[in-house]
Symmetry: C2
Subunit: 428 residues, 2 copies
């Protein structure tokens, strides 16, 4: 089965071109490194593209900064970078005033530190339950399993809808005076569902619990207002919509008035009150620095700085508007082209409740990946059957989405033809 | 007081030139990024210089790798990089067979994970003491303080000599059937003392304890034979003598036969048996991967690869021979030029027991730093009074050491003149 240009394809192309022509953020696309052989990159929710400015920054770093300033770089910039960069992430993407956000370890390690800090907080002394959901990203669940076992805490599981996510009603059902902590993702990694973080935070606080939001799929794509929502703790990723590069260090947030009461277990020199005094005993720093542990990963903190400049220039409201337009466009294309082949839409239909990716399920999707990659079309895939179309607002065009979804349609049709064609069983 | 060319200076210059002329590793110096305004970089023990190859690798990374391969980079290389790079570090610098070394978090976080893993090992069940020393780097002591408090363990402190380090005799005195773990630095961060790791490991094993070696000041400068010494656990730094760049991720080592019995507390997706299955419950990977937690810091793992190639090409025996020659040269210069001004040599005189740096104490050294930096001479300094001359074997010339020590002599003399000159008290 081959799909050549027909009336529908022409309509989709025209519609995509019109959306691109009207896109107020279209000019930002030139800010990213181009890749000729990739015709549709729909995986910005997993690894954002590099900006051109970051390519230049990395190219200059070894010669002009590391190699030229050498150890002096620590005094001049790097020692404070986990906090100055944290403040910048907070201001541009999290609605967080200065002094509450830090850049440090991997998301997993920061989650561990913040969960441990929360469970030892005097505010929740005597409470022994942690609320989480079965749809959360594995590392969140794994961290909580481990900490709960150590602390003799009980995990209270919420089971969200496959196509949805955790609702305030579901949280209300499991909260009690035993709840110490609620850990949820603001945007569900699979469905893209946007939880009502403000409402859930209020519910948790009313029950006397602390809340930790995982913002991995939010930061830089979906507006977040940590201070306004009264959030206690948050952590998130910088290599998705903040384009920090593979494995760039994550950020953490601890609300200012909580910092003095919370301590984290990985006591390292960079979180101490006076790192260069080489003192005999650990005393945590007064401020958010206490949540740091080891020497900060400076090289990994370079690229995200340029993306933050772009997001700041565009503004989170405009970024969100384009994100919604992109996922609406992807949804319409999927409805027209992919669902007729037996696939199932697995994200919220309501754009208000949808983050910056759209997931479609089909058992044959795994077999389409080699075909798609070969053709320069790169979606995301989550086993066993979820194809995620991750649409990074500043680097993705509407026509790129069309090219990608059409390629998904073609590849899926080919795989299905192959498996249902006469003799397919013998040749498989 | 001004120091102009005199007979001694001429002798030192001639001696340095002769050593450089006879240096079999001299050609490696061209492999590093030059910095015109830095005439003597004597801080390779804190932050190694970038190699030229790393500068090129970083310059290409965003455009040719991250930007071109995009998410496919994870399948093609990055997912395994923490282990393949770990194997390479193990083979080139640690005397460690494959499958035991990983690159992961900061040194602090890896120390935390390995200490926790050790304390929960069945081998040391019921034991409640940890042996450490007051001269160890703060982060090592801070991590142990925190873990000991959590576990109700007792810290058994060794107090090493100021100019020396921990000896087998000192360890033997504190070992008992209560000892669960011994954590020491192979090379002392201040004095540069090289502990007898083989003998101490054997002593600890004879007492039924596990041993964790901090190799921060060893890896890439002082030969290490983890497998031959029978070491249980190790961790170390990659931004010093492995030139990984500021904050490059650290490595950890867990002896193969121990891995199955040890688990670490930060349960993340990258350490699980099947990270991409998104399974419901955490099961640790069978192998050394179980000591990973979050998404690996790929950008931070780039530069060290080039330095490993250089160390491999030179060979650790030749690297060590040059390191000894450099510290002997520095010692002779310090004896001639700096000790006469009232400074005190604070490293082992025996080159067998000395790592790749030499420390000199003087209360006026802190005041010399601005003068030295201004003159392009960059030693290391540890409060309150220790000037460390860190001599990275492949990037440091003998004449660079001479230039540096002469500058230290001049700056110290100026500071002392200033403070002892008539009227100094009034103008200070």
């Amino acid at each position: 089965m081959t799909h050549t240009t027909d009336a529908t394809t022409t309509d989709h192309a025209a519609r995509s071109a019109a959306l691109d022509a009207a896109d107020p953020l279209a000019r930002f696309r030139d800010a990213f490194v181009a890749s000729d052989e990739v015709t549709a990159y729909l995986d910005g929710n997993s690894l954002g593209r590099p900006t051109r400015a970051s390519a230049e920054r990395l190219a200059r770093f070894a010669t002009d900064v590391w190699g030229a300033r050498l150890i002096r770089g620590w005094d001049e910039e790097w020692y404070e970078l986990p906090l100055t960069l944290g403040d910048r992430i907070g201001a541009v993407t999290l609605g967080a005033a200065a002094g509450q956000t830090f850049v440090g370890d991997s998301t997993t390690v920061i989650l561990y530190k913040l969960v441990r800090a929360a469970l030892s907080a005097p505010q929740v002394a005597g409470r022994d339950e942690i609320v989480l959901d079965a749809g959360n990203f594995p590392t969140d669940r794994y961290v909580l399993e481990g900490v709960a076992r150590e602390h003799g805490a009980t995990l209270r599981w919420i089971t969200p809808d496959h196509d949805g996510g955790v609702t305030p009603e579901q949280v209300a059902e499991v909260l009690s005076d035993r709840t110490a902590l609620v850990l949820l993702s603001h945007v569900a990694y699979r469905s893209g569902y946007v939880s009502d973080a403000a409402a859930i935070t209020t519910l948790a606080h009313d029950a006397g619990a602390l809340v930790l939001w995982d913002l991995c799929h939010s930061a830089g794509a979906v507006p977040v207002e940590l201070d306004a929502w009264g959030v206690d703790l948050a952590a998130g990723c910088t290599y998705k919509y903040l384009n920090g590069g593979p494995g760039a260090p994550a950020f953490g947030y601890v609300r200012a008035d909580l910092q003095g009461a919370l301590t984290q277990p990985i006591q390292g020199w960079m979180g101490s009150a006076a790192p260069f005094e080489m003192g005999p005993a650990y005393a945590p720093h007064d401020g958010v620095r206490r949540f740091l542990s080891g020497t900060p990963a400076i090289v990994g903190m370079l690229a995200m700085q340029d993306m933050l400049d772009l997001v700041d220039a565009a503004g989170m409201a405009a970024v969100r508007a384009k994100s919604v337009a992109l996922t609406e466009h992807a949804t319409a294309l999927v409805d027209d082209l992919v669902l007729p082949l037996g696939a199932r839409y697995a994200s919220p239909r309501d754009p208000e409740r949808r983050g910056s990716h759209v997931t479609v399920d089909h058992d044959a999707f795994e077999a389409t990946l080699p075909l798609l990659w070969e053709r320069g079309v790169i979606p995301d895939f989550r086993r066993p059957n979820g194809l995620r179309l991750g649409l990074s607002p500043l680097s993705t065009s509407f026509d790129e989405v069309r090219v990608g979804v059409e390629a998904v349609r073609d590849a899926l049709a080919e795989v299905l033809d192959r498996t249902t064609a006469p003799g397919a069983a013998e040749s498989a």
